[in-house]
């Protein structure tokens, strides 16, 4: 075999796969068409555009920089790929007081505003696709959800229910400082602050908490994306 044939062989064997699994899907996904909602099936018109509120770009950066993706995923797999959907609060809420069962799998429009979808490496901790929803409705029902998240960041084991958690404490995301004048509005209600000092979150912590609260990927999806139309019909009532 000549050198030329050899290099051609290397390039062909690699190049075909490269085109098929990288280049073409990259271009296809990049030009993902917006989904037109139809009056008949979705009950409304316009385009499907899941809104997210919060400091998504900032918070996603903090999430990446501190390696949250190593232990938390952000994907609710369809039932053919895993049992994520059956968990009562991962894909949404099993019994939302207003909307009924909101659980659904992750779709390609859920990562709007992020450069890199933090699908995640392992699940040492739970999936976060609907963390915002879960904190508001379950963990901190009736309380300030951001305080629950700040507490979790400061030390996950402060919550008696999570005493076995192996999530690292992030004390560096908080500053302990002397109170001068009026106490800060951001001061944390925990962290055994001494008399005359207060514990305040850094801008990074605030961005991260805002991002985590924006994780509510359980909106109703258009009929073309819906994997369980029966459920949608049932909850539409």
């Amino acid at each position: 075999m000549s050198f030329r044939t050899f290099i051609l062989g290397l390039s062909a064997s690699f190049g075909v796969a490269w085109l098929a699994v990288i280049v073409v899907p990259f271009i296809t996904m990049r030009n993902l068409a917006p989904i037109q909602l139809s009056e008949a099936t979705d009950g409304t018109t316009g385009i499907f555009f899941p809104k997210r509120t919060g400091r998504v770009a900032d918070g996603a950066r903090v999430y990446a920089e501190n390696g949250c993706y190593l232990c938390h995923t952000q994907v609710v797999r369809p039932t053919y790929a895993g049992n994520d959907l059956y968990r009562p609060d991962w894909g949404g809420l099993k019994a939302d007081p207003d909307r009924g069962d909101t659980r659904r799998e992750t779709n390609a429009y859920d990562f709007f505003g992020e450069k890199f979808a933090q699908i995640g490496v392992s699940r040492m901790g739970p999936d976060l696709s609907n963390l915002g929803r879960r904190v508001e409705s379950n963990y901190a029902a009736g309380k300030d959800p951001s305080i629950w998240l700040f507490t979790h960041l400061y030390n996950p084991r402060l919550d008696p229910q999570l005493w076995q958690s192996t999530c690292p404490p992030h004390h560096f995301m908080f500053t302990k400082r002397k109170i001068t004048g009026n106490p800060s509005e951001d001061a944390m209600p925990f962290g055994n602050a001494d008399e005359g000092t207060e514990l305040v979150p850094t801008p990074e912590a605030k961005a991260l908490v805002s991002y985590l609260l924006s994780l509510k990927k359980d909106q109703a999806v258009p009929a073309v994306l819906n994997f369980s139309p029966a459920k949608a019909k049932g909850s539409a009532k």
Partner: protein
């Protein structure tokens, strides 16, 4: 007639000695700094592994948080140790096999320093909180052009050497090395431009990242290690390669199958459905190239059991082939869609599989190469049989423990994860004991590699034994069965040795 033969042998020896001399500093630089990064990576690995079950450990400051130490650990391992070991082996083996002295040692050394600087700054970036958050690509975006440029400056000479070599047979190792040299920049440029420069869909970006991890493992580290093993096994035993057709099958099946693998990590994520399935199928099919190479190498090596017992290089290489067989089996077992893939997709098994590939297979073959190459380029023999033994035993037991704990722990964890009727904590509790075991095993590996690093550094300082007798495991066999040739006929000594003293 006999005088003609002795002239060729002498010329050969002269040529080999010349090649070794021309590459002494680059090779030793890559190996020593690689070993230093390996030690750094293992320390970081112990810290992060301990944090996985004792979250309060060293939680004082931001740069020691788990989410930064773990990426630092894996990136130091890949770019600090893995690549530099590969560079040393590529430039040395390609020069030997192409029978050309290296004329660019200075430039390679400079590029090697730039590479190290890039790795250092990248790690500082990760630890100080500028990680990109993409697994195996966590170095801040400034690092990749630096690494790419120095990569070209290091390996381009090996490519040229191959092109200008005297006409003749192209050996299996050269196929693998050329392939690795060509594939790596293609993979690296693709992943980095698509993730850093051309904005695409975020989920596809995650898919490309998963593909990058797999491609780096199977299209760079694997061919480099297989090329090295195909060099060492026949060279040390003095036997021809068992089967050339099997070698061809192994090579071309790797080339055809491996580029498709990787995206099974995104099974169930919103990317085109065929991608995870193609990835899973390709990863399972990697059994073919890996097992055909492993069988071929084992058949070659076991043809001379007494050399196997005495040669440290061969012992390490074969341990690496053992790791390859385990890797091939776990590639099949871990990636079956609808049965094991949902369990292992987001569990410790992924880490176990990576460590098995990078350490259990690649690094062991690299250690084998180090024990073979260093005496030749420094013209000194290894100081101590015992140090090599410690390195071997602690590494083998340590790495097998890490890989098996992580893979089986991952299965346990995955079963807990899929059991949706139980609370989530159940899955974490199932993984806990395996995480503790992994930390302990890493400590053994650290212990072994500290000795390796000291031994290697002493060799670089040319404090090795001035002897013509290689350091072997089994002293009782004497030197008659030396794997490096007849007594007094060691490449290491070279023809100028006696006259020089």
């Amino acid at each position: 007639m006999s005088s003609a033969i002795s002239t060729t042998t002498e010329q050969d020896a002269l040529l080999r000695a010349g090649i070794d001399r021309s590459l002494r500093h680059p090779v030793m630089f890559f190996l020593t700094s690689g070993a230093a990064w390996l030690a750094v990576s293992i320390v970081l690995g112990i810290i992060s592994s301990a944090k996985a079950h004792a979250p309060g450990f060293l939680s004082c400051c931001s740069w020691l948080t788990y989410g930064r130490v773990f990426p630092a650990h894996i990136n130091a391992f890949i770019y600090g140790w893995g690549f530099q070991a590969a560079f040393a082996v590529i430039i040395w083996m390609m020069a030997r096999l192409s029978r050309k002295e290296c004329t660019a040692a200075g430039l390679i050394l400079v590029a090697g320093h730039v590479w190290n600087l890039g790795v250092f700054l990248g790690l500082v970036g990760i630890l100080s909180g500028s990680s990109t958050g993409m697994p195996w690509m966590e170095f801040p975006a400034f690092a990749w052009p630096v690494l790419l440029a120095s990569y070209f400056a290091i390996v381009i000479w090996s490519f040229i050497q191959f092109r200008v070599r005297p006409e003749g047979h192209v050996y299996i190792s050269q196929w693998y090395l050329l392939a690795a040299i060509v594939w790596f920049p293609w993979i690296f440029i693709t992943a980095n431009t698509l993730l850093h420069c051309l904005p695409g869909h975020p989920v596809m970006a995650a898919g490309i990242n998963a593909w990058y991890k797999s491609a780096l493992t199977f299209l760079f580290f694997t061919p480099v290690a297989l090329g090295t093993a195909y060099y060492l096994a026949p060279k040390i035993t003095g036997q021809p390669v068992y089967s050339y057709s099997l070698a061809k099958l192994g090579f071309w099946s790797l080339a055809v199958i491996a580029p498709w693998a990787g995206m099974q990590k995104l099974a169930g994520a919103p990317i085109p459905y065929f991608l995870p399935y193609v990835g899973a199928a390709a990863t399972v099919m990697l059994f073919v190239p890996t097992i055909s190479a492993a069988i071929n190498l084992l058949r070659t090596a076991i043809s001379s059991p007494e050399i196997l017992a005495s040669s440290p290089s061969l012992r390490f290489t074969l341990a690496g082939i053992g790791g390859l067989i385990l890797l091939a089996c776990s590639a099949v077992v871990l990636n079956l869609p609808d049965s094991t893939l949902p369990l292992t997709q987001f569990s410790l098994s992924g880490y176990g599989f990576e460590i098995l590939a990078l350490y259990g297979f690649f690094s062991f073959v690299m250690f084998g190469a180090v024990y073979f190459i260093v005496p030749r380029v420094t013209r000194r023999e290894w100081l101590s049989r015992r140090l090599i033994k410690i390195h071997f035993l602690f590494s083998v037991y340590g790495i097998m423990a890490v890989a098996l704990f992580a893979i089986f722990g991952g299965f346990e964890q995955g079963i807990g994860q899929e059991d949706w009727q139980q609370p989530w904590q159940n899955a974490a509790s199932r993984a806990y004991p395996y995480a503790v075991g992994t930390t302990i095993a890493w400590c053994f590996i650290l212990f072994s590699n500290i000795f390796f690093f000291i031994h290697l550094a002493l060799m670089w300082l040319r404090l090795g034994r001035r002897s013509q007798h290689p350091t072997l495991f089994d002293a009782a066999h004497g030197h008659a069965s030396s794997p490096h040739g007849e007594e007094g006929d060691i490449d290491n000594a070279g023809p100028g040795y006696i006259s020089a003293h």
